[in-house]
């Protein structure tokens, strides 16, 4: 990402989308975040640590420096994994700060024209549009068929090769929300929910969506999936494209409001964390602030919903599972016990200890494409830990992590599959 841009050199942030200095000042520089930060652990560089980055943001906000190249580099070397937030005794909302700083960067510097076009295309057009995503995935399928027979992956330029490595080897038929608008509860209906299906996941991991609806139905949920919904905007926010993200957020809020359900369930940790922060994202939008806040409170991760409901009968599933905590579930939403508990209740399933399960795998949205070197270092540690754990399966509730860890294990020649926790629940419930 960073590289050729010409950042604004004048000191200070703009006032278009004001940087919240008070929140940055709640960091008192104690340093308890350091050991929790993957980029600090890897580099030993305090400028690549949460307190260091906040120090830099405060220096820009206070007029000591401009948004220089080094500033830009550090803001984008951050994974936005938010492990520091769980460690912070002062409750500094680090994720919001770094995302706001990236927004400042993107508004105030010029990127080469093709980069700006590409960003617009990806964040504002491709991700929000199922039709375009389908179009994009069509050649991907063709390519995968090709790649299964010939080593074409090696011929790709490095960025495209990374993208190709992230693709699942087999892609099922896309998940079209229109086909699943109303999924009735099995047995007694306990809840009426709406399902957030997002963007890429419907094409890259469509079966996880289908399984999620099944598992929810068995737990007594009647689920509606509105076809008008769109991408949550998380990738745009991570990339500093806050305007695009806000437009997406407004559309999603309007779509889900109309359904009149109590809860909106989501099976992607990254999307869930974003949806739960719509209140913050639209805080200055007079028309939407209130509604965004209400919507955010309705959003639940699938593990939260299932945890509260009676469990359907399960057959034994004798398998050793390593549960890897998605950062945006564990740190972004403070959900850790529920998915583990749900898995533990599966008869015969053994949860093995995965050292570093709380550490980022290097996926972090599209970080694995924008910062491949750091991402690979973190992935290598994850893969090693999985292999040492004795697990037969890895379970993690976020599409980015699933694809990333799959890629790492495949490259290491390991046959260990990586699945979403609901897939294991589904298997036990179906007894296959």
């Amino acid at each position: 990402m960073a590289g050729q841009e010409q950042p604004r050199q004048a000191p200070g942030f703009d006032q278009l989308d004001p940087f919240n200095l008070r929140k940055a000042q709640s960091c008192i520089h104690c340093g308890l975040c350091l050991e929790h930060c993957p980029t600090y652990r890897e580099t030993g560089n305090e400028a690549a640590s949460p307190r260091g980055r906040i120090y830099l943001m405060r220096a820009v906000a206070g007029g000591r420096m401009g948004m220089t190249q080094a500033f830009v580099d550090q803001m984008y070397l951050c994974l936005d994994c938010r492990a520091c937030e769980s460690a912070c005794p002062s409750g500094v909302p680090y994720g919001q700060l770094v995302e706001a700083a990236r927004g400042q960067i993107e508004r105030n510097r010029r990127r080469p024209w093709w980069q700006s076009r590409l960003r617009q295309l990806v964040y504002a057009q491709l991700l929000p549009s199922p039709a375009l995503l389908a179009l994009a995935f069509w050649p991907a399928r063709f390519y995968l068929a090709l790649a299964r027979r010939w080593p074409v992956e090696r011929l790709l330029p490095s960025r495209l090769r990374a993208l190709s490595e992230l693709l699942p080897r087999e892609i099922g038929a896309p998940f079209w929300p229109a086909h699943y608008q109303q999924v009735p509860a099995q047995g007694q209906a306990r809840r009426r929910l709406a399902f957030f299906s997002g963007c890429v996941m419907s094409f890259a991991l469509p079966d996880v969506h289908r399984v999620t609806l099944q598992v929810l139905a068995r737990a007594g949920c009647a689920v509606e999936t509105p076809p008008e919904q769109t991408c949550c905007g998380a990738l745009a926010v991570h990339a500093g494209e806050r305007g695009i993200a806000r437009a997406l957020a407004r559309r999603n809020i309007a779509v889900f409001e109309k359904l009149g359900v109590d809860q909106v369930v989501v099976n992607s940790a990254g999307c869930g964390a974003m949806l739960k922060e719509y209140g913050e994202l639209l805080a200055r939008d007079h028309q939407y602030a209130e509604r965004a806040h209400r919507f955010a409170h309705q959003v639940k991760d699938v593990s939260e919903v299932l945890f509260e409901l009676p469990r359907p009968p399960m057959r034994p599933l004798p398998v050793k599972v390593a549960y890897d905590e998605p950062c945006h579930l564990q740190h972004g939403q403070r959900i850790s016990a529920q998915p583990k508990q749900l898995l533990q209740e599966v008869p015969g399933l053994e949860l093995v200890k995965l050292p570093g399960a709380d550490r980022c795998c290097g996926s972090a949205g599209i970080y694995n494409l924008t910062q491949p070197a750091m991402s690979q270092r973190l992935l290598a540690q994850k893969v090693q830990a999985v292999q040492d754990s004795g697990a037969q399966v890895v379970a993690t509730g976020n599409p980015g992590c699933i694809l990333q860890i799959r890629r790492g294990l495949r490259q290491a020649g390991s046959p260990i599959p990586v699945v979403h926790p609901v897939e294991l629940l589904d298997q036990a419930q179906r007894g296959t």
Binding site: Q25, I28, C30, L34, N45, E46, G62, P89, G91, V92
Partner: protein, 479 residues
């Protein structure tokens, strides 16, 4: 010397990426956990081995450039600030645990290992005992520099009681081993000399530590008081009764508010004037007597409530608030300054009254969170980072408290070190001859004073070299 040449020479020693020199990176290293004073280094070096540290120091010796060792930068006395525009030699990449030898109860670690990681990785019922409140981040090397304590040092001792030996790179680049893996070495105890020397003798590159068995049984109590006075009297009486708790910590009303408003809320009663966190450990046999004593003494001083943690989860919760209390003041204000005076336990009530009086006179909020059992005060002065006049008032208030501690027969620092922050107060505690003896001993290791200049010794007596003095307000403050 030419800056570009310095950087390229250092890169030749430690490699690209292990030398930081961009202005933004230098800025980040201008402060540690103590943020009132600031001084940016001219470069930061991140060596990965003893060999590299030695080469870097040899090079800095040849070129006459001052340097300062730094670990995780969580220190609270400005000890790792690079005065005289020096180079920071940071151990953040030296983070391997080299050896764990449980039968012999010892381990060998590199200095950049975070304190808590050592106990976590040792496991099997063994641990490294010193547990500074910043243990989740602070490095073992930093602990050696400051002779760090922690809540459990009351019974289990400070860093110096748990370090068997250190490998030290002298300021001219030689590598020496002081002490070692064995329990005892003849000759001068230079190991003891290095521990607590605040990075003024060289860079520690390996630490041989003692491991201890985790206590068989532990009980943690929270005693709640309606006056600070009754809490402090309870402390003196517990020790006087012959009970040595493994920890005896006090938090006052201000700190309770900070903790309970933060993500580390521990369930301390918001309306209490003070709480004591009392921990007993050891073989279960003597427990009942000790518990009964502690309860009886708390009740004698009108403790409103004595809560005993039922299980490990409740214990962890009670400790979580205490261990993160300093960080949690971000919930109250945007900046803080903590002090570290030591006083005889019997004088706790009057010293705390003085602290309250100082707070009123300087119009500051001062909380107290401290190791009451060993009389180690941590008045926590919180202030608004946007108030330009605050640092001056804060430092004056701090000075009064420090002077009072010394006058009460105590000391300037229990565990945070003198660093930059308290150096001018050293003459309150030591005579000119005392300080001169220390300076001579230091000069044996650090003859030209290039290793961490401007620290520990007062600038005014002439026995320390006159350092570049940083003053609040000299550099524009970070917003």
């Amino acid at each position: 010397m030419d800056h570009t040449k310095l950087i390229s020479d250092l890169i030749r020693v430690v490699g690209q990426g292990a030398v930081l020199y961009r202005p933004e990176e230098l800025l980040v290293y201008e402060a540690d956990g103590h943020t009132i004073d600031k001084a940016a280094p001219r470069a930061i070096v991140l060596p990965s081995s003893t060999e590299q540290v030695s080469q870097v120091l040899r090079y800095l010796h040849q070129t006459g450039i001052p340097f300062v060792p730094r670990g995780a930068g969580t220190g609270l006395s400005g000890g790792s600030l690079a005065l005289e525009n020096g180079v920071v030699v940071c151990t953040a990449r030296m983070r391997r645990i080299l050896e764990v030898d449980i039968p012999n109860l010892r381990a060998v670690v590199e200095p950049g290992v975070a304190n808590i990681r050592l106990s976590q990785e040792v496991g099997h019922g063994y641990a490294y005992a010193p547990d500074p409140s910043s243990q989740a981040a602070c490095s073992i090397g930093g602990n050696v520099a400051e002779n760090s304590g922690g809540p459990h040092c009351l019974k289990h001792g400070f860093t110096t009681n748990h370090v068997l030996g250190v490998e030290l790179v002298l300021p001219e680049g030689e590598v020496v081993m002081l002490g070692g893996k064995a329990e005892e070495y003849p000759g001068l105890d230079l190991r003891g000399f290095v521990i607590g020397s605040e990075g003024t003798l060289g860079v520690v590159t390996k630490v041989m530590v003692r491991l201890v068995r985790v206590p068989e049984a532990v009980k943690t109590l929270l005693a709640v008081f309606d006056t600070v006075d009754s809490a402090t009297r309870t402390v003196s009486d517990i020790i006087a009764a012959g009970v040595i708790p493994s920890a005896l910590e006090m938090m006052d009303h201000v700190v309770i508010q900070a903790v309970e408003r933060s993500p580390v809320a521990a369930g301390y009663p918001l309306d209490a004037a003070a709480v004591l966190l009392i921990e007993l450990d050891g073989p279960p046999e003597g427990f009942d007597w000790e518990m009964a004593q502690v309860r009886e003494i708390c009740q004698r001083h009108q403790a409103r409530e004595v809560r005993v943690a039922k299980d490990d989860k409740e214990r962890a919760l009670l400790w979580r608030g205490r261990k993160h209390a300093i960080g949690a003041v971000g919930a109250l204000a945007t900046a803080f300054y903590t002090q570290d005076g030591v006083i005889p336990r019997k004088r706790l009530p009057e010293l705390l009254a003085l602290v309250a009086d100082v707070a009123k006179r300087y119009q500051l909020t001062i909380g107290n969170v401290f190791h009451a059992g060993d009389g180690n005060l941590h008045p926590l002065i919180v202030y608004d980072a946007n108030d330009g006049d605050a640092p001056r008032r804060v430092q004056q208030a701090g000075g009064e408290i420090m002077a009072a501690c010394v006058a009460a027969g105590g000391s300037l620092s229990g565990e945070h070190g003198i660093g930059l922050e308290k150096r001018e107060y050293m003459p309150l505690l030591f005579s000119g001859a005392d300080l001169a003896a220390m300076a001579q001993a230091r000069a044996a290791f650090n003859p030209d004073g290039r290793c961490n200049p401007g620290k520990v010794f007062p600038t005014s007596t002439g026995c320390g070299e006159v350092g570049a003095i940083t003053k609040p307000g000299v550099l524009p403050a970070v917003a």
